[in-house]
Symmetry: C2
Subunit: 264 residues, 2 copies
């Protein structure tokens, strides 16, 4: 999924994005550095969304948030400007996508709060480094994602189903993957399910609700993690009058190291 | 499986066994204390068996061993006498069971080496304390065990298939069980497999090779751990001219606390 140049740090990647040198997706562009899902909401909705993340830490592990109107989040990167440092943004009005823009200079407002939510790139890097093959990465496709019959814990207007991502793994690799991803609670942590998609209300594993399908071979189990698409799906349900997200695959690259997210 | 009295420490349980007050199985008689599988071999075979345990730490996690001819293992319990402190022993000659005895006073020899191997009671206690239901415990039966198509790593004459125990668990409990048992490498550690018994060469999950069958419900996965019956099965294959084991379920109770085996 990486398109071209690889940068030696999160800061170098951000500067390339800020200057317009890098305009594509961010998977793999700064190995070792944490990337984040972006959601920007008006202050009037922000407190409820904070609570929603707090109540649903597996799909919505909050790694940083801005003060209202302030485009900086120093905890994620000293020089970060959330208006310019992602390659592509989506602007939503009343739940409808109205435009994709390369920066937020024209749409930024003093009442906006930016939320950054941990993403599976971090734990996928740890799995691949351990020698576990992830099919969607080998195939160069997006991970398959499914809406489940499991409800998130609601907060204010925010509610809706848990969305999960799926990676097919041999049983011994599935056990190893539980061990590895348990170390990364800030990026979804351990799987929420494995082996029985029907118990999650998934009728056809070959037909994901988001992303691309991958084959599950006879000697493999489908392993499911809580997914950062959950908050986007929940925001889409609420249809806020104004909202900004990253465009799929075009994430924020931070200065945090993936290895520093490991709790053990 | 506990038959009557519960003792407050490993030492109290051993004294009751040594005096003949307790003669039955040991499951549950000293909650919180590590129990061990016993194998006693002549010195001529002991070095190879040491190596076998070293090469196969998941089925054969060695928690203690004696010097040749010495019935003490102070690392497991200060006052331990391996000849008197288990409720029931099996004496084998040329691979055949020749007698069950309540102590080893009449058969002890100066060339014997005692091996103690960690047992699943320790991790089962941690699972049950976490609120995970283990069906064979609820049913009061022995855990089902299966010979697999996975070979152990041979050492000298010792070789043979890995034996696994199986516990049916709901997927979320299976994930939690991987986390919990990973903390206990000295008592078999994380599962070796889950979900696909046929990949282990198990033809009929309802027909275990040892122990009693348990139902695997439609919303459960069979979860498999390396089993301490493996070394007994391997020793039976070698048919040493002389050998002693504990009688099934009649284990050594040590002074080690289960919680102290947790590496994290």
């Amino acid at each position: 999924m990486a398109s071209g140049k690889i940068y030696g740090s999160g800061r170098e990647a951000r500067l390339a994005i800020r200057s317009g040198e890098h305009r594509g997706q961010t998977a793999g562009i700064a190995p070792g550095f944490v990337q984040g899902n972006l959601a920007i909401l008006p202050k009037a909705l922000a407190d409820d969304f904070f609570r929603f993340c707090q109540f649903n830490p597996k799909p919505c592990p909050l790694i940083g948030a801005s003060e209202p109107g302030d485009p900086r989040i120093p905890a994620l990167a000293e020089d970060l400007d959330i208006r310019t440092d992602l390659p592509l943004y989506r602007v939503w009005r009343d739940g409808k996508l109205v435009e994709e823009v390369p920066d937020l200079k024209a749409v930024w407002r003093d009442d906006l709060v930016a939320f950054l939510i941990g993403c599976s790139f971090s734990f996928e890097e740890a799995l691949v480094e351990d020698g576990i093959d992830l099919r969607h990465i080998s195939a160069g496709t997006n991970v398959p994602m499914y809406r489940t019959n499991i409800d998130t814990v609601p907060a204010g207007p925010f509610h809706g189903p848990l969305v999960v991502s799926m990676r097919p793994l041999k049983p011994a690799d599935a056990i190893r993957a539980v061990q590895i991803t348990s170390r990364f609670p800030a990026v979804h942590g351990a799987p929420v399910h494995l082996g029985k998609p029907e118990l999650l209300g998934i009728k056809d594993i070959a037909k994901p609700d988001y992303g691309d399908p991958v084959e599950v071979k006879a000697d493999e189990l489908p392993v499911f993690w809580a997914c950062g698409v959950t908050p986007q799906s929940v925001i889409a349900t609420v249809k806020p009058d104004f909202c900004i997200t990253h465009a799929p695959g075009h994430m924020l690259v931070t200065d945090l190291k993936n290895s520093r997210l490991a709790i053990l």
